[in-house]
Amino acid sequence: MNAANYLYLSALLFTIGAVGVVVRRNAIVVFMCVELMLNAANLSFVTFSRINGDLNGQVIAFFTMVVAACEVVVGLAIIVTIYRSRRSASVDDASLLKR
């Protein structure tokens, strides 16, 4: 199978994720879109690893997963705290710093 197809898929997933981050209001959905972007990037890394025939890209994919896991922990904690205090998970409502 042509490796380029994986890259097209990766680009498609990344675009979906990016549009989701920009368009959606719900923090959980935004969060999931971010995960989607990260995984799109992971897919690119693994693909390039396969194309180049070495393990560097796969190693970086693991790093990305670890970072993503940490990010989920911190991010979910923030979202839950915001929801508790404001009874809303909309990212547009969390604009206190501007005022």
Partner: protein, 629 residues
């Protein structure tokens, strides 16, 4: 040179008086004036004691010094605060403390109704101490300290009644104009230090021979600037008339007898510089000649008795400066005129104060008249001073002023004839305006205000006047008999041998007396035979109008220095506001403005931030892609 430990008392005594009176406050109101007078008198007696010691020594041993302390010590450059008492300074010491003490005594009575009499006496003592430091300093730098001190005392005393804004302005004017002269003195000291490496009198005198004429001329001109400021000489003369705002004893002591003669002292003390710098010496003579006519002309038009006397002081100091500018032959005569002038002018100022005392502080001579009968002692003492300033034999001015006229004539060539003529004319005009003062004040019919009750002053006031009148009569003869003063001072000045005589003394005296007689006659015809107007007539010639305005000196200063100065200041202030402040504020405004416009993007919406990040990332990738391609 011999040293002594007692010189410092001359200065320390009056200085202690000033300190005690100023620090003790109202507690010393009752006895402060007595203490100040006693300290001034004791300083006079120390001076007399020093004179008696000096008389016992030979010419070479007469100067004595006292080192007070090491003042500045930087590497090889050392300046000691030291005092020098020689034949020249002892003359000044006795004049300052002697006349000073008499004026202290006079002031006890004159200022008795003033609530601030203690402060007045403190300032008087401060003045005496500063003036003594000026004449006793053994280097230009020490002299400079005294020079500034008398400037301060003069400022404080002119503005003594500073509750009147005009008087406060007058004191400020005197101070500011004196600063110009002080600047000249500091420049002279700097040039002397740069070229000779020393500022002491002995050091400069020794180094003067090896110094270039250009440097000496520079020092001389700067010293002359200093002298014109302190001695109210052309072109820095405008402050003296306004300085009459001070109490009359101050005018007598500071602005007639002592401080204003500091310029003559400076030039005489720096004789070794001026003798080696003919250009500077010529300028001294020119300044003296201009001022003596300038002052005399102003004197003819003044109705204020103190301002008329001030103009006369200016003119008489012009004589002294002229004499000092004539070189070794003239120094001694300048000093002699200075001493006699100290007596008769101080006496006349005290007389004017006495008249004002009896006339409710009226100074307009057109409101006087016929005071001879009511103030006989004032009339006699003032009259003796009047005869002295005119140069009528055998009064003091005859000896001193005729000597200057004679020396001026004998200066040689065209210079001698011009100077001689100017001094003769000056003598004539002096006779005119002084006779005018006498006639308007003491003779004729009374033109007093209704509430005026003229009366003779108390003895505390007329006693100093009487003593000064005795000095006005005898000092000239005493100082010139057997060339006493000339011989006394001769070791200080290098004599360049005999001088040609253009006119013999007899002819000069005859000419001078003729001029004086003409001046008196004019004044007599104008003011004694004709009615005197109570209000100064306004339909007068243009010359009188100009003379009444002090020969336009203030207008000239305002037009040439003040207005351009104000314009310059305004331009500088505008430049400061627009350019410098503008740049500073511009930086702030640029930061604020860019911040304000950038703040618009900070919407607070997380999604728009994410959008911007995305756009940025895409733009970055695109840019890299373009570059790599």
């Amino acid at each position: 040179m011999m040293t002594s430990n007692s010189l410092v008392y001359l200065i320390a005594l009056p200085l202690a008086g000033a300190v005690i009176l100023l620090l003790s406050g109202r507690r010393s109101d009752k006895w402060g004036h007595l203490l100040a007078t006693a300290l001034s008198a004791s300083s006079f007696f120390v001076g007399l004691y020093q004179l008696s010691l000096m008389l016992d020594r030979t010419n070479e041993e007469r100067p004595i010094t006292q080192k007070l302390f090491e003042w500045i010590s930087v590497g090889t450059f050392k300046i000691d605060a030291g005092l020098l008492l020689d034949q020249l300074s002892i003359c000044f010491v006795l004049l300052i403390t002697g006349v000073g003490t008499l004026i202290h005594i006079y002031s006890i009575s004159y200022m008795s109704h003033d609530p601030d009499r203690r402060r007045f006496f403190a300032f008087l003592n401060l003045f005496i101490a500063s003036m003594l430091l000026l004449v006793l300093g053994d280097s230009y730098l020490n002299l400079y300290v005294g020079w500034e001190g008398v400037g301060l005392a003069s400022y404080l005393l002119i503005g003594f009644w500073n509750q009147k804004p005009a008087y406060a302005t007058a004191s400020k004017k005197a101070f500011v104009m004196n600063r110009i002269g002080d600047m000249g003195l500091s420049f002279a000291i700097m040039i002397a230090f740069a070229t000779m490496g020393t500022v002491s009198f002995t050091g400069v005198k020794a180094a003067a021979e090896q110094t270039s004429t250009a440097a000496l001329t520079g020092i001389g001109i700067m010293l002359l600037v200093a002298a014109t400021g302190k001695s109210a000489q052309f072109p820095l003369q405008a402050w003296l008339g306004d300085a009459m705002a001070g109490p009359t004893p101050v005018s007598a002591l500071i602005h007639a007898a002592t401080m204003v003669t500091a310029g003559v002292y400076l030039i005489t003390r720096s004789n070794f510089i001026f003798d080696a710098a003919p250009t500077a010496q010529l300028l001294v003579v020119i300044v003296g000649a201009i001022t003596l006519m300038f002052g005399a002309l102003i004197g003819t038009a003044k109705d204020d008795i103190k301002k008329a006397l001030a103009a006369s002081t200016m003119s008489q100091i012009g004589y002294m400066i002229l004499g000092a500018g004539l070189g070794p032959v003239g120094y001694a005569f300048a000093i002699m005129h200075l001493l006699t002038h100290g007596f008769f002018k101080a006496g006349m100022f005290l007389g004017a104060g006495s008249v004002m005392h009896g006339m409710n502080d009226e100074v307009n001579m057109r409101k006087y008249g016929a005071l001879r009968k009511f103030m006989p002692i004032t009339f006699i003492t003032f009259g003796l001073g009047y005869l002295a300033i005119l140069g009528v034999p055998p009064f003091a001015g005859f000896y001193s002023k005729d000597m200057i006229i004679e020396t001026a004539f004998n200066a040689g060539g065209i210079k001698g004839i011009i100077l001689g003529t100017v001094t003769l004319l000056g003598a004539g005009i002096t006779a005119f305006y002084m006779t005018r003062v006498m006639i308007l004040t003491f003779t004729g019919t009374s033109r007093w205000d209704e509430e005026a009750h003229p009366h003779e002053s108390p003895w505390l006031m007329w006693l100093p006047m009487a003593i000064l009148a005795v000095g006005s009569v005898t000092s000239g003869y005493l100082l010139s008999s057997g060339d006493a003063l000339v011989n006394w001072l001769s070791p200080l000045f290098e004599d360049h041998g005999e001088h040609e005589e253009l006119l013999s003394p007899i002819i000069v005296s005859t000419l001078a007396l003729t001029m004086v007689a003409i001046g008196i006659a004019f004044a007599f015809i104008k003011y004694s035979l004709n009615e005197v107007d109570e209000v100064a007539p306004s339909d007068v010639s243009i010359f009188t109008k100009i003379a009444r305005q002090d020969l336009m000196q203030d207008r000239f200063n305002e037009a040439v220095f003040m207005r351009p100065g104000q314009v310059l200041t305004e331009v500088l202030v505008k430049t400061d506001e627009v350019v410098i402040d503008g740049a500073v504020r511009g930086v702030g405004r640029a930061a604020l403005g860019s911040g304000a416009s950038l703040r618009g993007i900070q919407s607070g919406f997380v999604r728009s931030y994410a959008m911007l990040i995305l756009i940025g990332a895409v733009a970055l990738v695109a840019a890299i892609w373009v570059v790599v391609q």
